[in-house]
C-alpha cells in the first residue's frame, strides 16, 4: 500500500510532461488572439465612404468573392509598415480590399493614400469606432479574411509581415479552392 503511494509524484510528473510535449509540438502562437467571429457571418454595417459620395452598405459590397477587411488609420505607425503588403494583395493577388478608416481625419487619410498609394476598393469611415467594436477589433491594424459567402474565415491582429502575408495568401487560396 505504502509502496504504491510513492509512485504518485512520478505519475503526476509524467502527466505534466505529456501535456507540455503536446503543447510544444502543436503549432501554436501563444500571443494569438482567437476571434469569436471565426466561421460566423460578418457584422453588417453602413457608413460614409471616404472617396465616394455614396453610402457604404456592407449588405451590398460583400459576397461573391474573397474580400480582405483591413482596419487602419494614418496615426498608426504599424499600419504604414504593413501598407506594402496590403498593396501587394491588391496589385499582385488582385484581391478586393475594404479598408476601414478607424477614428481618423479624412483629409489626412486622403493625403496619406496619395503618398503611399491606394490599395483599397472602398474606404468606409469609422469615425467613432463603432464598426471596430462590432467586429471585435483588439487594436489596429487588424485584418479579416471574408469568404464569398460573407463568412469570416481568418483574423490577423497587428501589422502584416512577410510571414503573415504568406499565411493569409494560403488561406485565401484554400477558400478559393473550396468554392
Amino acid at each position: 500500500m505504502r509502496k504504491k503511494t510513492l509512485i504518485i509524484p512520478f505519475a503526476i510528473f509524467l502527466l505534466i510532461l505529456i501535456a507540455f510535449f503536446n503543447l510544444l509540438l502543436k503549432e501554436r502562437n501563444p500571443s494569438d488572439i482567437p476571434s469569436n467571429l471565426i466561421n460566423k457571418k460578418i457584422p453588417e454595417f453602413e457608413a460614409k465612404s471616404l472617396l465616394r459620395s455614396e453610402k457604404f452598405l456592407s449588405v451590398e459590397k460583400f459576397g461573391n468573392e474573397v474580400i480582405l477587411v483591413n482596419f487602419f488609420a494614418t496615426w498608426c505607425k504599424p499600419c504604414r509598415d504593413e501598407h506594402v503588403y496590403i498593396k501587394r494583395f491588391s496589385d499582385e493577388k488582385k484581391i478586393k480590399i475594404i479598408g476601414i478608416n478607424y477614428k481618423d481625419k479624412s483629409q489626412k487619410t486622403i493625403q496619406w493614400l496619395k503618398k503611399l498609394g491606394n490599395p483599397y476598393s472602398n474606404i468606409p469611415i469609422d469615425k467613432n469606432g463603432r464598426i471596430a467594436i462590432d467586429w471585435g477589433v483588439y487594436g489596429i491594424p487588424e485584418t479579416f479574411v471574408v469568404s464569398p459567402k460573407k463568412i469570416i474565415k481568418y483574423r490577423h491582429v497587428g501589422p502584416i509581415t512577410k510571414k503573415s502575408f504568406e499565411k493569409i495568401n494560403l488561406i485565401i487560396n484554400e477558400i478559393k479552392n473550396d468554392n
Binding site: L6, P9, L14, I16, A19, F20, L23, L24, S31, D32
Partner: protein, 629 residues
Amino acid sequence: MVPSLGYFALCLSLCFAVLQLLISIKNNSVVFVTYRVVINGLLISSLISFFSLIFCYAVSDFTVLNVFQNSHETKPLFYKIAAVWGNHEGSMLLWILVLTLFNFFIFRLYSKKNFLFISKVLQTQSIVIIGFVIFSILTSNPFERITPSQNSGLGFNPILQDPALAIHPPLLYVGYVGFSAAFSFAVAVLSSNNIEKIPWYSYMKPFVLFAWTFLTIGIALGSIWAYYELGWGGWWFWDPVENASFMPWLLGTALLHSLIVAEKRKSLQAWVLLLSILSFLLSVIGTFLVRSGILTSVHAFALDPSRGIYILGLTAFLGCYSLILFATRSNKFIRKNYFSFLSKEGSILVNNILIVVVCSTVFLGTIYPLLVEIFTSNKISVGEPYYNSTVIPIIIPAIIIMGIGPMMNWEKENGKKYLKKIIPAFSITCLITLLIFSIYQSFSFIGVMGIILAFWLISNNLMILIKKEKNYLKSMAVAHLGVGLLILGITGSSVWQKEKIINMKINDKVNVVKYNIIFEKIIEITGPNYIAIQGNFLVYDGKENIIAKLKPEKRFYPITNNITTEVAIDTNILRDLYIVLGKGNENDGWIVKIYYNPLVIWIWIGALTVFLGGVISINNNLKKLKILL
C-alpha cells in the same frame, strides 16, 4: 580572439564534466588528486568562458551576435555588463557557472568517511552540468559570430537599465541552481546502499539555505524593480515568470524546515528527499516555461522551439530518473514513529503540507491556461482574483502556526505551560492591532487578519531576540521577524491602496487621502541617452505645508525608439505616494496616475530581514558542518 577563447573554454567545461562523470562512476580506483584537478578545471573553464563574454560586452565586440543584439556602445559600463545575463544565452552561461560553483563546494565535503557518498552526489551534479553545457553549445551559443561585423549594437530595453534589475538575475540563478545540489544529494541518498552513518541532511542543509536565502533576495529585488520601474503601482502581478520563481521558493521553504526535523529527530527523511527533487525540478520547469515561449509573459525571451524541446527533454530525463528512484527506494526512509501534533516537529509538518498545497495551487494557476488550450481551443488567463481567493485562505493558518510552532518543545509540549509562554506576545498583538485600526480605520476581514498575523509574528520573535533566550535560534527569530514585517507591508499596500487616475492640466489640484497635490509645471530635460518631459507636483499635507516635490518623467530613448515612464515616489514608514505621468499635451492636459500605497517600505525591510536571517543561519550551519567533517 576572446570570443573563440570563451567558446573553447565552454567546450572544455563539457570535457571536464564528462571526465567528472567517468571518475565518479569508477570511484574506487581514482586518487583524490585527479578528482581535484577535474573539479577545479571545470570551475576554471566555466569562469573563463563567463568572463570572456563579460569582456566582449565591456569592449562592445559587435562581431559577436549576442553582444550585437543585446548591447549598445552608448550604455554605461555597469549596464553593459549587466546585459550579459539580461538575455537567454548569457544567462545560461551564468547558470552553468553557478552549477560548477556548487559542484566545487560539494567536493569540499569529500573526506575518507564519506567519499563513496560524495562521489555519488558529484555524479548526479556532473550529469546536470553536462545537460546544461550541451544545451548552451547546441541551441544557445553565446559566442556565435555575426558577419559582416556591425558598428553599432541593437541596444537593450531601457526599462532594464535599473540597478535592482541588474543584480536580480544572478541572485535568482544562485537560488534556482542551488537547488541542484539538494537534488544531487537526494539522488545520491536514494541510490546509495549504506547511508545510515552519513549525516546527509546536515551536508545538504547549508546548500539549501544558501539557495533559499539568495532566491528570497532575488525575488525581492525583482519586485522592487517592478514597483519602481514599471509604474503599475504594484509590486507583484502573479505573472507566470514571477510564479516560476515563487514556486521553488515555497518548496525550498518547506524543505528547509523539514531538514531541521530530519537533523534533530531523524524523521521526515523521505519527505525531505521528495522536496529536494521537486524544488530543483520546479526550477528547471520554470526555466522551460519562460524560455520555450509556451506561455506569454512580460519576461519574454527570444524564442526558439528547439530550445523548448531540449529543456523539456532534460527535465523529463532528470525528473523520470529521480522520481522513479524515489518511488522504488524511498521506502526504507519512512519510519513509523508518529509524533504529537503539539510539538515543534508537528507544527513544522503541518506547515510543510500547507506550503506544498499553496505551491500546487500556484502551479495549477500557472499552467491552467495551457491545460485549457490542450482540451479546448479557448484561451483564458488566470489572474489575481484566483490567487487571492486560493492562496490567502491556506496561508493564514500557516502563518498562525508559524507564530505558535517555534515556541513549542521538540517531541511534546504541555498545553498549559505553552499558553503561559505566548500570553505576552498575544497581548502585544491585540494592543497594536487596536492601535493600527484607530489610525487607518478600515475594517476589511483580510486587513484585520493580516495586521493581527503580522504583529503576532513581529511581537513573539522580537521578544525572543530581546530576551536572548538560548532555546531559540537567533537566525530563525530574525527570519520570522522579517516574514512578520513582510506581511505587514503586503497587507497595508494591498488592502488600503488608493488609486486615482485623472486628467490634469497645469495648476490643477487633486486630493488623495489627506494630501493635496498640485500640478505645478512641466519641463523638458535631457539625460545621457534619452530626452524626457518631467512633471513637477507639489504635495501638501492637511495643514497646507509642502511635504514633497515629486517629479515623474516620461522618457524617450531615440536609439531604440522606446518610451518609458519614470515613477516619482515619496516614501515614509507609513506610506508611499506614487505618481506616474501618462499621455497628454499642453492643451488637453496629462493623464496622471496617483497611488497611495500604505506600508510598502516594510515589504522591502521585511525581505531584507528574512535575507539577514538566512545569512546568519548559513554561517551557523557552516560552522556545524566543519565540526562534522
